[in-house]
């Protein structure tokens, strides 16, 4: 054994790679199998049932609503990017004191659990005496006090505002690091040529931020597609079905309604979206 290990030292990698092969790849295959089975209820059943789960899913309006909401969350991506870039540029200003303090404050929401932020935002949005409505009323803007996450019309908007709050500081951090890595010589040269501050950002710095931009888009898209924790805590997918996303629907179908084959099918739909949207995007940007 000792001798064998000496001759093949990398054999120890079998443990982590074996775990990944089983818990990621084998489980994906297993899940596909579940999705074409007739498993309903707590006892597993693997009898082949064709595409029953998928037809059932694709004819269910809740599925389409969940898919729409999931894709709707992508709308936070451009907003976080604009906001993050603005904050990064502001923090980058020469001679600005305390920019680290600002950076740490902006990043604070991102460090915390969605369960913490979800609970706090439930209090923020509480219609009777929550933080936001109290604030509006105290400055005489009673008309702006709303029902937020408790009404079907505004629930998705409320979720998106909170997610922008949680993610934009992180995007700012990514952009700030990108800005700092632009060569100082180039910037000085442009300054000597008399270029204005604004022009330097527009013509010199921002065009060099492609890598951080890709990073931000990919990470935000992944969070949007896997959006479970925050929504589960804030609304549980409600009111009604109004804030169901695919991960919420998957959890409810599988672990509450015990429709395991349908839950598995939803998981596969999410996997397909990731394969179609995220991976080619990453690949294309990094191949160049």
């Amino acid at each position: 054994m000792r001798e064998f290990f000496k001759r093949h030292p990398l054999i120890i990698l079998v443990i982590p790679i074996g775990l990944i092969l089983y818990f990621v790849y084998f489980c994906i295959g297993w899940n596909v199998w579940v999705s074409v089975s007739d498993w309903k209820g707590l006892t597993p059943s693997y009898r082949f049932n064709g595409f029953y789960a998928y037809t059932k899913l694709f004819t269910d309006s809740t599925f389409w609503l969940s898919l729409r909401n999931t894709l709707l969350l992508f709308a936070i991506i451009p907003i976080c990017i604009v906001l993050g870039l603005l904050l990064a540029i502001l923090m980058d200003q020469e001679g600005l004191k305390g920019s680290n303090i600002f950076r740490n404050l902006f990043l604070l929401p991102f460090t915390l659990s969605f369960v913490v932020t979800g609970t706090i935002w439930a209090w923020m949005y509480n219609p009777t005496n929550g933080i936001i409505n109290s604030l509006f009323r105290s400055i005489g803007l009673n008309s702006l006090a709303g029902t937020w996450h408790t009404s079907q019309e505004t629930v998705m908007l409320s979720i998106m505002i909170a997610l922008i709050w949680q993610f934009s500081g992180y995007v700012a951090l990514i952009f700030l690091a990108g800005i700092k890595s632009v060569s100082q010589d180039q910037i000085n040269a442009a300054k000597l040529d008399g270029a204005s501050n604004l022009r330097i950002y527009r013509r010199l710095i921002i065009p060099q931020l492609k890598a951080p931009l890709t990073t931000a888009i990919v990470i935000l898209a992944m969070y949007a597609l896997r959006s479970f924790d925050f929504i589960w805590v804030l609304t549980g997918g409600g009111p009604g079905y109004a804030s169901h996303t695919l991960p919420i629907l998957m959890y409810k179908e599988t672990f509450q309604a015990t429709n395991f084959s349908i839950g598995a099918a939803i998981g596969n739909v999410l996997l397909m979206i990731v394969l179609v949207l995220v991976i080619p995007f990453t690949y294309r940007t990094y191949r160049r």
Binding site: L87, E94, G95, S113, I120, T214, T215, L225
Partner: protein, 279 residues
Amino acid sequence: MEMAQKVPSKVSYIIFYSVLILFAIFYLLPFWGALTTSVKTAKDVAVTSPLSLPTNITLSPYAEAFKELKKPLLNSLLITIGGMLGSVFLGSICGYALAKYRFKYDNLVLLLLISGIFLPYQAILVPLFQTIRALNLYDTILGLVLTHAVYGIPMCALMFRGFYGDIPDCLIQQAMVDGNGPWRIYRKIILPSTRIATVTVIVFQFTSIWNELLFGLIIGGPDSMPATVALNNMMGTLAAEWNVQMAGSILLAMPVLILYVVMGKYLIRGYMAGAVTAS
């Protein structure tokens, strides 16, 4: 060297600071509201504005929240430490092998790990649930440790691969010529010279496992429930008592907040490395 001439004017500084401070208020407002609410009595919560300072400070919401969360917080600590150690160790050896050795199918291993980062967990939850039940690990700390350790491997491995890649190859070649095997080199050269990287990944993994909800919800039960699940359950049962809920949120956030204050530099490094890795 000639000084750059265009330093923004005083007026623009005032604008910059105002905008930044405005945003700082936006980011901090929810925390301020949570903090003031958490030290008010239930009666004061009902009649005062959540943003106003409490007139009579009470810590009883914390006592009440702590009573509910004591065991789950301990569970979270065990799950987090166990899962963190597992994923950091396994990720580290993968990262080392991928950064410093060419072996059969090394590119395939790299691809399998990178793809693992993008896995939407919904696509494996049912098989994971079945596996954990088959191993008799449902509602156990060990089940959650195993789950977090495994699904943390891809991110840790790729972060370590990046950090270890910075170690000069000649150091390793010299050690090999001196007759050291790869794992002796790992212990004697790689680990001692990358302490900061290790701390970075540890802090990153600690916060991500501590903050996680989904696995806890599915694999945890009454015995092994992590604090995230417990706080969420509290919200369902104590809907009216906002002061207790805010106190509970702050208790749950506390370890991460302390880590952020004490080791923020490492956490930010981890976020940057994670960002580069994930794309």
